[in-house]
Symmetry: C2
Subunit: 191 residues, 2 copies
């Protein structure tokens, strides 16, 4: 997605440790017009797939999932990272390791919100080592729903997540894949 690549070049900041900060437009401050174009692109990429529900994970996936859902006219379900007394139904649970926060955490979805009749599109902002996405895929599999695909905004193609998950047969579509960002220079894969 050309517009997204240009924006990453313009406003993304590469930091030590393979960190790409895009918090001025994607995941702390949000450019809502860009989100809308991202949602339209996911709709184009998964057109005719009869998706009836979008699944994401809190926090930064939620806004993207909601704006994308407007293009599909389907509900969103977001997996929760914290247990609360408000989450008391039976849940599908998966344990995910976060490299950002350097700890394991549980992600959960109440069972009543995913059924075997659902046709799920997963949406998230980043795919790097793939732990969060694997957790969501695990939850979809537990529910018996059909996983139609995963729409990712930025994939770090030099990390293993994308290859692992595509090798599982999941239809992963990333709008920008970064093959390298050594010395602060971002190199995109041709898509």
């Amino acid at each position: 997605m050309q517009l997204l690549q240009e924006r990453i070049i313009k406003d993304g900041i590469v930091k030590d440790g393979d960190i790409l900060k895009v918090d001025s437009f994607l995941n702390h401050q949000i450019d809502i017009d860009l989100y809308d174009k991202i949602g339209a692109e996911f709709k184009r990429l998964f057109l005719g797939k009869n998706i009836n529900k979008i699944l994401t994970i809190e926090a930064s996936g939620i806004g993207l999932a909601c704006v994308t859902a407007q293009h599909f006219h389907v509900p969103v379900v977001f997996a929760k990272k914290t247990l609360s007394k408000n989450l008391d139904g039976e849940t599908y649970l998966s344990s995910v390791y976060s490299y950002t926060h350097q700890k394991n955490y549980d992600v959960q979805v109440e069972k009543k919100f995913l059924t075997k009749d659902d046709r799920i599109l997963i949406i998230d902002d980043f795919l790097a080592r793939g732990k969060a996405l694997l957790g969501l895929i695990d939850i979809v599999e537990q529910s018996g729903a059909s996983l139609i695909g995963a729409g990712i905004v930025i994939e770090k193609g030099f990390q293993e997540g994308g290859a692992i998950i595509r090798n599982m047969g999941v239809d992963v579509k990333s709008l920008a894949i970064i093959d390298s960002m050594e010395n602060g220079k971002i190199v995109f894969r041709n898509l």
Copy 2:
């Protein structure tokens, strides 16, 4: 907002401890068409106020803020609840007590995303005792931005948050105010 009240009556579940579960349409599974109507209503309520940015707090505020922002055509900033190595700029920070999780947590916004020239609308799903909203107001005040108002989807009018914050002079507009939910019966305030 009549449609919202009807939905709360139809799908909301009242539980012990003054808990109202609306997770089938508002904050776990999301009815995106309802979100869109909520966003349109906030636009109507704050029309002509020259709002240039919407502020919310992760997680369940983000989707509402994004869909509302589409009606205002302004960016969203969401306050973060967790420190991470990706959040390394200087931040505005406020400490918030969560009754749901029964602990204090810090909420933070990078300073570069709120300036004294901003005219802020805060959006959140719930207002009860008001701790999260007070934290966001504190952050807006630290930044020197103008707080134009707060748009809340569901206010528990029998708890003190709404009165405290309106007494501070904040223009709080709630789409549904619940005056009582004793014995599972939800009574709305006439708006």
